[in-house]
């Protein structure tokens, strides 16, 4: 690789050929501000349209300023990142963006987390010299995502996520010039589009243009309603990220504090989605084994691979794009919905509360969960199994509204019977976790022997597409893992073409799995944060005394008292679902 010599702000630097000015500068401690640019290292996610023009720098001999994020360094370049010309241009560009941006920072959902706000502050902008008309678009409300496009700054990050990473293809730039904006085709509403509500657009939006549908108000009303019993379930990935909202370093596990906070907020029972994750493993694992055995016995009606079905964005994705494959995914509902279903039957009976008076709130790292809970098949007589699905970020707001000093909270324990969980359930929160959990149970059921080891390192990691073969006591089981819908699409296309070598595949819509979900604290383009959350998840697993789902005593009890056996008729009715052709 050829090396390039250049100077940046009079400092000499040597970089590899192909390095951008931005990277070259950063390697010697010069932080050129960027706005539209986003790169998630090692995850193959990069957005560099060169559109915002905030990172422009002066290059000696060049006619105009160069965008540092997408201009390669060349031999002998002399760059000035803070010449008066560059500073003036940078500030003017940000002023221009601000001149076409609603100045409602004080009440904006993104206030404090807004990259544009931070940029204005960073550059010390105190006056907008070029005022004028502001573009105006109607707001678009969907069950999960709110588009307030007046706040769009055309950074195109959402477009990169939606098209390049997720291959969903809903969001793209429409219209021209001052009217240009990112929107679904024909500017249709999101809920008419093929949007999966994965929320990755929200996760990367630098401003308040894309936010979640906020349901904290409804939850507060339920909590203050004396006729209601309000219970809460928390997804595995939430505990690995919630602390970030309260200033803790990424990767801090806050399970105990989270439980304590929820209890202070007035939830009557604080339960764990992890319990339902263990339940999912029993149902899905049993389904896997029965399909696997039938397949190996040569049953022509059985199709493999089996695909996981806990991710609602993924479910909506294949319903739109691969409806002919809708028989392949497991019929098991997601843990959120299994929890809701059991809570409003088994648990409601147990505490003697009518279904209508039991409110199930879920805390999810996800925005698609809001949509999932609103799917009609997950309601009984119009009463949903899960009433409200809040994101991790919404929970943080709720905690603040409850005047809870999160950092000083003691650790608290989940309530029973729906609060007990195993290490297998915790790892549902990261890519590779669901299938590892399934393997832990399926192996022992299939072989009748205890696992020689619990940790399957071969299933872990951050590569978008991974595969491993697990030896089920002489039977090799091929496992595929994809996170990010674009990666999932590749595996599905292989299945369509009849080229799939896998027996089972885990698919998570969001890069990194649920830890990188659209409802998590904003990562602001820092992929390290996701990796730290992943490490936290695996450490929680390690610290659990029970690490296999089928060993969860409360699950055993649930089957004994209520469901009978996995895949029983009752289990089918309450814990399984079917899929629809939405193409």
């Amino acid at each position: 690789m050829e090396m390039i010599n250049l100077t940046i702000d009079h400092k000499p630097v040597v970089v590899r050929q192909g390095t951008t000015i931005l990277k070259a500068a950063s390697s010697i401690g010069i932080d050129i501000p960027t706005l539209c640019y986003m790169k998630l290292d090692d995850m193959n996610i990069e957005n560099k349209p060169g559109g915002c023009r905030v990172c422009v720098v002066e290059v000696k001999g060049r006619r105009n300023l160069a965008p540092a994020c997408c201009t390669e360094a060349t031999e002998g370049m002399e760059i000035n990142t803070h010449s008066i010309r560059a500073i003036n241009a940078r500030r003017t560009v940000v002023e221009l963006i601000l001149s076409d941006h609603p100045a409602d920072c004080l009440i904006c959902a993104k206030s404090g987390n807004c990259d544009l706000q931070n940029m204005a502050n960073h550059l010390g902008i105190r006056k907008i010299h070029y005022q004028g008309e502001q573009s105006s678009y109607r707001e678009d409300t969907s069950p999960a995502i709110i588009r307030e496009i007046n706040k769009c700054i055309m950074c195109r990050r959402c477009e990169t996520m939606c098209n390049d990473v997720q291959t969903v293809g809903v969001l793209s730039a429409v219209n021209r010039g001052f009217q240009a904006v990112v929107a679904p085709a024909f500017e249709m509403n999101l809920d008419h589009s093929v949007c999966t509500y994965c929320g990755q657009c929200v996760a990367v939006c630098p401003t308040g243009a894309l936010t979640e549908a906020d349901e904290t108000g409804a939850v507060i009303r339920a909590l203050s309603d004396p006729t209601k019993t309000v219970i809460v379930q928390t997804a595995p990935a939430v505990r690995a990220a919630l602390g970030e909202e309260f200033g803790m370093p990424a990767g801090t596990l806050v399970t105990g504090k989270m439980v304590a906070a929820l209890r202070r907020l007035g939830f009557d029972y604080v339960f764990d989605t992890d319990f339902a994750a263990d339940l999912t493993i029993l149902e899905e694992g049993t389904e896997l084994l029965s399909r696997l055995s039938a397949f190996m016995e040569g049953d022509p009606n059985v199709k493999l691979p089996i695909l996981t079905s806990c991710c609602p964005a993924w479910v909506k994705f294949f319903e739109h794009h691969f409806p002919e494959l809708k028989d392949i995914p497991s019929t098991a509902r997601s843990p959120q919905q299994m929890f809701g279903s059991i809570a409003k039957t088994y648990f409601a009976d147990k505490i003697g509360v009518k279904r209508e008076n039991l409110v199930v709130v879920s805390i999810m790292p996800c925005l698609a969960k809001k949509y999932e809970s609103s799917r009609p098949e997950f309601s009984v007589n119009g009463n949903p199994d899960v009433d409200f699905a809040l994101s991790t970020r919404e929970l943080a707001h709720l905690i603040n509204l409850g005047n809870v000093d999160f950092n000083s909270l003691p650790n608290d324990e989940f309530d029973q019977p729906l609060g007990e969980s195993t290490g297998a359930a915790v790892i549902f929160g990261t890519t590779g976790g669901v299938i590892e959990a399934a393997v832990r149970t399926a192996y022992e059921v299939f072989t009748g022997k205890p696992l020689p080891r619990v940790d399957f390192e071969e299933l872990r990691g951050m590569d978008g597409l991974r595969k491993a073969t697990i030896d089920f006591n002489g039977t090799p089981i091929n496992i595929g893992i994809a996170h990010g819908l674009g990666n999932a699409r590749k595996l599905l296309e292989d299945i369509q073409a009849g080229n799939s070598e896998f027996h089972a595949i885990e698919i998570m819509s969001c890069p990194g799995g649920c830890i990188g979900g659209g409802g998590q604290p904003y990562h602001h383009g820092d992929a390290e944060i996701l990796k730290k959350r992943q490490r936290a998840i695996y450490s929680e697993d390690k610290n659990k005394t029970i690490r296999k789902s089928h060993e969860n005593p409360y699950i055993t009890k649930l089957y004994e008292e209520f469901l009978g056996a996995p895949m029983s008729e009752k289990a089918h009715h309450l814990l399984h679902t079917k899929y629809f052709d939405r193409s």
Partner: protein, 597 residues
């Protein structure tokens, strides 16, 4: 093979077609049928003659008679008088505005005298729908020579030596571009012809494709041979139906004759051309945007490098040239690089096609040698300013260009001189302005165009141009302040400095160049709130001179908003709060009593 004694060339360019030139052709055919002369006299629909001001044009050969503004009804007289009796129809001949005498032969017209037609060599000469006529004019000989007798390197050297530069606006040396694409290593490369002509008032590329499509196809094949591509794409805007039609016919004919397709002229070289349609976005003239549009993506530019020569259509090395650039190529091969380089100036060789428009007598399409002066174009070829008014400026380079004033009338026109004068060559639009044009309004007009045509990708172009336009609206609306002039300049400079593509980088040029050259007009708008050209309505003030007003009530009766009052036979007056400045009163007054200030 039938040979004809006479040829009647009827202009089939878009402008003349709109004036029924097809019916003219039909009438000729019918009339000749009637007289049994169809074996002796041939009627041909050609491409544009360029002299659009006086279209439809009919040219009779061999005596080279040039008839102007011919109507379908004139055909009978031309046939009876000219073709049968040999008497030219005088009333249809061009009248020299200077001598007031008729000019029978187009060679005697000033409009053509100073032109050198290279790119337009076949426009108005051959039937564009007949490949044999093109072949008869050395057509495809250049391709044949290249394939049979020259190596790609030799051809590229010829193009480099000729000094040909891109005619689409940028002026990048064509030979160098070909060489760069040739050097890119790939199993697949593309030749793209940029026919997405978008400057307001410009129609040179359309005319070439309508009048001589084969010259472009031939050049694309030559380019393919040089860079190692077997695939050519013409990106053309769907609003050019006639050009598309003629291009399609040309492609089919070339395939039929084996001049496109596999094993061309037995040399083993394969090359074919497809058409891709654009939706008429100005920004798609920018080569990266054009390529994205062809790929079915949103037509917006991306940062260069990588240049299309490295990574273009479908990620493969792609050479993009404009129509006019291509049209020059076969002539360079046939006549030699030295011949071509002998025309023009030191750094700008050959000719340039310009679309003359605005306040000029001879509106039309002209091809002139580089180095010609504006004065020659405007006064000799263009026949001077309309209605004898005073020349104020000429806008060149379209919305990316600037205004050249009187002081540049004698500057030789080439790429570098135009840039030095604060404008640019652009694709060749030339709009002539006279003393009734307000330069602030002109700048606003061009900015309006850019605003509509910006793709909206980068901040300075998307929002900056909007703000520039708002400031100009404020000024022409009579609310400008001195500080606005400063803000215009500062913002323009930032937009130029930071925009992603050529569109944004040049969009403030009309503002900057008018600010530089007509600062007085701007100053008048913002200080005394006067529009010197009398064009900005909001700055006009209508009042009635009591001395002159006879109280005839004509203005009172014609005012559409009832802003005028007064007794019969006594002076009237205008209520300024009601006046909409429509000017009807001034137009109606017989006593020049309405004062406009």
């Amino acid at each position: 093979m039938a040979e004809y004694n006479m040829h009647i060339l009827v202009c089939g360019g878009t402008g003349c077609k709109a004036s029924q030139s097809e019916l003219i052709k039909t009438n000729f055919t019918d009339k000749l049928n009637e007289y049994g002369l169809t074996d002796e006299i041939q009627v041909i629909l050609t491409g544009c003659f360029g002299f659009c001001e006086k279209g439809p044009i009919v040219k009779i050969l061999p005596d080279n008679t040039f008839y102007t503004q011919v109507t379908p009804e004139d055909v009978a007289e031309i046939v009876d008088e000219h073709l049968i009796k040999g008497r030219k129809v005088e009333r249809l001949l061009f009248i020299d505005p200077e001598t007031k005498e008729t000019v029978g032969d187009s060679k005697g017209m000033d409009f053509y005298k100073k032109q050198i037609r290279i790119a337009l060599r076949n426009c108005g000469f051959i039937n564009p729908e007949n490949i044999e006529e093109y072949i008869g004019r050395d057509g495809y000989a250049a391709l044949g020579t290249c394939l049979s007798e020259k190596s790609p390197e030799e051809v590229i050297k010829m193009i480099k030596d000729s000094g040909l530069r891109g005619r689409g606006g940028g002026g990048f040396p064509t030979g160098l571009k070909w060489e760069l694409t040739r050097k890119s290593v790939s199993n697949q490369k593309y030749v793209v012809c940029n026919a997405d002509e978008g400057d307001p008032g410009a129609f040179m590329d359309r005319s070439i494709l309508e009048g001589d499509p084969h010259s472009v196809l031939e050049a694309m094949a030559i380019c393919g041979y040089c860079i190692g591509a077997d695939n050519g794409l013409v990106y053309i805007r769907a609003e050019y139906p006639l050009a598309i039609e003629r291009l399609k016919i040309a492609i089919n004919q070339a395939r039929e004759y084996g001049l496109l397709g596999d094993d061309i002229l037995g040399t083993g070289f394969n090359f074919d051309v497809e058409i891709r349609y654009g939706a008429g976005a100005f920004v798609c003239g920018e080569e990266t945007a054009l390529i994205h549009s062809m790929e079915g993506k949103r037509g917006e530019p991306t940062v260069k490098p990588p240049f299309p020569a490295e990574k273009g259509y479908n990620g493969k090395p792609t050479n993009v040239n404009n129509v006019e650039t291509f049209a020059n190529i076969p002539v360079i091969i046939n006549k030699g690089a030295e011949w071509f380089a002998s025309i023009g100036t030191e750094k700008s060789k050959g000719t340039k096609v310009f679309a003359l428009a605005g306040k000029i007598n001879n509106v039309g399409l002209i091809e002139v040698p580089m180095g010609i002066t504006l004065r020659e174009i405007i006064y000799d070829i263009g026949g001077g300013i309309k209605d004898g008014r005073e020349f104020k400026a000429v806008q060149t380079g379209g919305p990316s260009g600037g205004c050249l004033t009187k002081s540049f009338l004698d500057t030789p026109i080439d790429y570098d001189n135009l840039v030095a004068a604060g404008s640019m060559m652009g694709s060749g639009g030339m709009i002539v302005l006279d003393d009734s044009d307000c330069m602030v309004a002109i700048a606003k007009f061009y900015l309006e165009f850019t605003l509509d045509e910006s793709c909206g990708k980068c901040t300075p172009c998307r929002i900056g141009n909007k703000r520039l336009h708002e400031i100009l609206e404020k000024i022409t609306g009579g609310n400008g302040e001195l500080e606005d002039l400063n803000r215009l300049r500062m913002l323009s400079n930032v937009i130029k400095d930071t925009s992603l593509c050529g569109l944004g980088q040049t969009s403030p040029n009309p503002v900057l160049s008018t600010l530089d050259n007509f600062y007085d007009e701007y100053l008048a708008h913002v200080t005394t709130h006067k529009c010197l050209a009398g064009q900005c309505k909001a700055l006009m003030h209508y009042s009635i001179d009591a001395e002159r007003c006879t109280g005839c009530t004509l203005c009172f009766r014609n005012c559409p908003v009832g802003a005028i009052s007064g007794e019969k036979r006594s002076p009237h007056y205008i209520d300024q709060s009601l006046c909409i400045k429509c000017g009807v009163c001034a137009a109606k007054c017989k006593f020049d009593a309405v004062l406009i200030a």
